[in-house]
């Protein structure tokens, strides 16, 4: 049963990957990366059960957090990088 779930996750990862390659806009790619990250979390969690050592969920947990951080970072940098290359200040979220 875990194998089936793993397979499903792998297929989804593949689909997300295709979207990331094709993605016409940057946002599509970000979305695909985000989704891919979530799928990686799931994959690691399920794989731990598949191999019978489910103690390694820390990794999945770390992924879930880091993935969020990197998505936010990507969005922020993208927004500023695109606005004006020379005046890009990635640190003005608060006092704008």
């Amino acid at each position: 049963m875990f194998a089936a779930a793993t397979l499903a996750i792998l297929v989804t990862m593949g689909l997300a990957l295709i979207r990331a390659f094709r993605g016409p806009t940057v946002y599509d790619r970000i979305l695909a990366v985000n989704m891919f990250g979530t799928k990686t979390v799931l994959f690691i969690a399920v794989f731990g059960f598949l191999t019978g050592r489910p103690d390694f969920l820390d990794i999945a947990l770390a992924y879930a957090l880091i993935n969020f951080i990197s998505t936010v970072a990507v969005l922020k940098f993208f927004a500023y990088g695109d606005l004006d290359n020379t005046a890009a200040t990635p640190d003005e979220g608060e006092d704008g």
Binding site: T12, Y27, D28, A45, F49, L61, F68
Partner: protein
């Protein structure tokens, strides 16, 4: 009792896997970014939640279940927020082709 839990967890895992694949296909087939966001939302929340719930049932009470619970919690926190930020950035980012497409898209109100 264990039988019921087993069956339930299998159902959860399979449903999660199915939702994952369907979300992936939607991700591939939908016409523009904002509709794709919906597909990705399905896989990020419900699919992940179901699969992790299924795993939790398999794990039984213990540290593993607590960790899984935390993963669910974090995912259910972060992925909608990420999706929100993404949609917002796409709207605000002055992405002309995208906004244009979104206006043309009949499925979007």
């Amino acid at each position: 009792m264990t039988m019921i839990v087993d069956v339930l967890s299998w159902v959860c895992l399979l449903a999660g896997g199915f939702l994952g694949i369907s979300g992936g296909i939607g991700m591939l087939r939908f016409p523009d970014f904002f509709t794709r966001l919906h597909a990705a939302g399905v896989t990020d929340t419900l699919c992940a939640g179901l699969i992790l719930l299924g795993l939790m049932m398999q794990a039984g009470w213990g540290l593993v279940a607590v960790k899984l619970f935390f993963i669910i919690l974090f995912l259910s926190f972060t992925s909608p927020v990420a999706a929100h930020a993404l949609a917002r950035a796409a709207l605000h980012g002055g992405l002309k082709p995208l906004l244009h497409k979104a206006e043309e898209d009949p499925s979007k109100p």
